[in-house]
Each structure stands twice: as structure tokens, then as C-alpha cells.
Symmetry: C2
Subunit: 263 residues, 2 copies
């Protein structure tokens, strides 16, 4: 199947670099070169991330500083996707997100909120902020909770951290509602990335470190998906009860080696 | 069925008094007198609470200060029940609980933990503490999570607060485990309260304000259960899809009026 590939979707954290809790990070060996080789081969490329700790502008700048050939226009991320949904439905969000993500929602009316948007708020996941988001939700006749991803946890250089999905579950349980998830593994999110590349799913491959959100999500859209053994990869992922990648590779560089040999 | 009653189980918060976020509280009119009347009538009495923001000694003292005839020996609470389980199974807990509950676990070895115990930690539900409890759990070959209750939320004088159940769900999701719940509505918890009274379930009545944890839990043990219209009671409880109390009363005083008339 590798020969059919015309478009590549890349997860960012854990595939291009390992992020640090301080906002910094370390490139994964060979990844910056791998991105350049994909582009040089004339393949379509799209970065598909659940990053919600910063605006796209900010983290693209960080990645450029780490040596990656990447621009804001090449990135599919949950916050802009959520903004489109909020505008379409006339929703006014109460935000429980990272301070650095707030500018993505600048254009929206946030007075008298009629929904809650939760992202990876990190240090903003305080007891007070969680109670406040809960009170906004429980005060609605029909609570609307929009979550920028459903990840369980992720790894930073100072250790594992609970991801937005855990806090989403807490609010879901407390209010007896189901969140609407924007971002991986939601199907519309992958589909918009494919549309932006102009490549049908059977000619696309997702390369990621998350067995459920990257691999499982992409496969559900009819794409091939490869898991890297970097980032949050754990050996027990290879025994996952529901999801089986189309291939494993040690890192992005190896995936690109295989891909370019087949072309 | 009221005539068969020989033993009474009383929930505390929302039945005897309304708690304040500051550790204080206000007695519910007629409740202190109602407790004395139950005892004077020669009925067995047991207080059955999911309170995990303080040791039993502390909150019994507070209740005595509010005019209630109550002693530590009459209280069934989750922390001592959890301690028994931990000892039986040789478990060494990592505690994510309220500071004031920590002394209940004083006798247990807490070095090199092999389980996590979560209670209503309130202000201790910080981002750092949640990440720490998560890391302890995910580091175990088979994570063991013990939760002192599964409440969704509760009301304090300064507003609604997320209860332990919401944070339990967050950790369950992140670690893909199911918590073992100690406290209401767990069957063994009600059964130990019945055993302490020496009364079979068909001769006992639970009086509480929580439709699921008090009423539903007690009924599942074969007891009768009455919901008071005080505390967290909401009119929509009367349309609960699964749980129907054996009776509604306006408050504890009214329940005791009915009970004593039947004897």
C-alpha cells in the first residue's frame, strides 16, 4: 500500500519533537530532515495536531526555531475547527483552555455563555476553574460541552500529564452529558485535513505516536496509519485490543525511508 | 412497612444540616430533636455518610456543637471502611484526599504505594496532585484505584462543587481502569452499617437526600428508603428514571413523626 501514498498527515508532538513542560522541546533525531524529504519528493503534507496549549502561530514559530520547515497554513488544529462550529451554531463559549490558546477565540462573543469549550488547559485546570466550568454547564437547560480532543495523557520532559480527555470525562459525568469532540480522533477533523491536501483517504497515510487518536482515528476514515516508536508510544500499544496499525516504524525518519523507497 | 422498622440509617449532610464551604454549617430545623426522638423510642440508629473532608472525630465534634446527639462509634464512613480493605489486601495507598482526612490512614504503610485512594480532596484537587496520582496509577502493572464515594457534585453555601466521582472518572479514563467504590451506594458499605446495628435489611430504613447514593443504594440491599426534600434534593429527582423512594418526606422531623406514629 505504501506505493499508493500521495499525501502524508503528520502528528507533531512525539513525532517531530518531544515537548517540555516549560514550552520548550527537543527535536526527534532525523525528523526535521524527514519533513524536508517528504516535501522534496512532491508529496502532499499536512500537520494534524491536537495541540491546544498555544495558538498555531506560536507553536509553528517554536517548531521553526527547532529547524522544521512548517507554516501555519499547513497545520490542522482543533481550536480553529471549534471556532467554525461555534460560529455556525451561534454558540458563546465559556473557555476552559490554556491562556495561550485564548487568542484563537478572539472573534467570538463570550458574554452570557451557552456552551463550555474545554482544551488542554494545563495549569488552568484548577479546582476553582473546574467548578466554574461545571456550574456554567449544570446551569444550562441542555448542557453543551465541546472538547478539543479526547486524549488520555501525554508525555512532557518532566513526566506524564493528564490530557483534556480526563477532564472532559469529569465534566461529562458530573453533568450527565456527552461532549462533542473536535480534533483527533473525530472523523470530520481528519476529513478536513484530507480536503485541505486534496487527497482521497486511500492515498493518504497518517503517521503518529498515539495508537487510538492518530492510528485508530485515521483508519476509521479509510486511511492507512503508521505508529512511530517515539513520543508516548509504549510497547503494550502493540497488543491494543481494537487498533492495529498498518505498520510500525522506529521513528519518522524510518517511515520516510520506506515511503520514498516505494515511490 | 413503617411498622416493621427496628433500625434507622441516617445520611448526615443535607439531612441533619447544610454544610458550608468553610467547614461550618446550619442545622436543618427539627433534625436534632428528631435524632433524640429516634433514640428515645428505643430504635437502633446509625449515621451513614460519605463525608471524606474530615476525620469522623472532627465532624462528629462539629455536629455535637450544632446540638446533635451523635458519637464517633455511631458513624459508618468510607475512610475506615477503606482502611479495613487496604489492610486485608496488603495495599499501601497513595492518598489524594482532603488534608483533614489523612489521620484516618495514619496506621497504614504508605511507602512505595501499590494503590491510589481518592476522596473528596476539595482544594487538594490541584493539577499537580491529579497528575501525581495519575503517574502512580499508570506506573502499576495493574492499577488499583479505590474511591471513597462516586458522588457527582454537592452544594455548599457558596455554590455547587464537583464531588469525588468526577475526579474518579478522570483517573478511570486516563488509566483505563474501573475504580472500586467504598461508601454509598456500594452494597458492602450499607451491609456493614446494618451489621453494626444488628438489624436485618427488611427491618431497616435509610433516610437521605441523595436519590441515587442514599435511596437507590439502600434499596439494592433490601432496605426501605425515604428521600427528604432538604439538602441536595431537587424536584426533578421525583422523576428519576431508575430509582423510586418508598416515601418522600419534607424533612427528617416529618419522617420521624410518621415512624413513631406507626410504632
Amino acid at each position: 500500500w505504501w506505493r499508493a501514498v500521495r499525501g502524508v498527515l503528520l502528528d507533531i508532538s512525539g513525532v517531530l519533537y518531544d515537548s517540555g513542560g516549560d514550552g520548550g522541546g527537543t527535536p526527534i533525531a532525523g525528523s526535521a530532515e524527514a519533513v524536508r524529504r517528504i516535501k522534496a519528493a512532491g508529496l502532499k503534507l499536512r500537520f494534524c495536531t491536537n495541540e491546544t496549549q498555544a495558538t498555531r502561530e506560536e507553536f509553528v514559530k517554536k517548531l521553526q526555531g527547532l529547524g522544521f520547515d512548517i507554516s501555519v497554513a499547513e497545520v490542522t488544529a482543533p481550536a480553529p475547527a471549534a471556532c467554525r462550529i461555534l460560529k455556525e451554531r451561534g454558540l458563546r463559549p465559556h473557555l476552559l483552555v490554556h491562556n495561550d490558546l485564548v487568542p484563537e477565540f478572539a472573534e467570538l462573543d463570550k458574554a452570557n455563555p451557552n456552551c463550555v469549550v474545554i482544551g488542554d488547559a494545563a495549569e488552568n485546570f484548577t479546582y476553582a476553574n473546574l467548578n466554574e466550568a461545571f456550574r456554567v454547564l449544570i446551569g444550562m437547560e441542555k448542557p453543551v460541552l465541546i472538547s478539543l480532543g479526547r486524549g488520555r495523557y501525554y508525555k512532557e520532559t518532566d513526566g506524564l500529564k493528564l490530557d483534556v480527555g480526563a477532564y472532559m470525562k469529569a465534566l461529562e459525568y458530573a453533568c450527565d452529558v456527552e461532549a462533542e469532540v473536535v480534533g483527533k480522533p473525530a472523523k470530520p477533523f481528519f476529513e478536513s485535513a484530507l480536503a485541505e491536501m486534496g487527497v482521497p483517504p486511500e492515498q493518504a497515510v497518517m503517521i503518529g505516536d498515539d495508537i487510538v487518536n492518530d492510528v485508530g482515528g485515521a483508519q476509521q476514515c479509510g486511511m492507512r496509519a503508521v505508529q512511530v516508536r517515539t513520543g508516548k508510544y509504549r510497547p503494550c500499544d502493540e497488543n491494543h485490543p481494537h487498533v492495529k496499525p498498518d505498520a510500525y516504524v522506529n521513528d519518522l525518519a524510518e517511515a520516510v525511508d520506506i515511503l520514498l523507497q516505494q515511490l
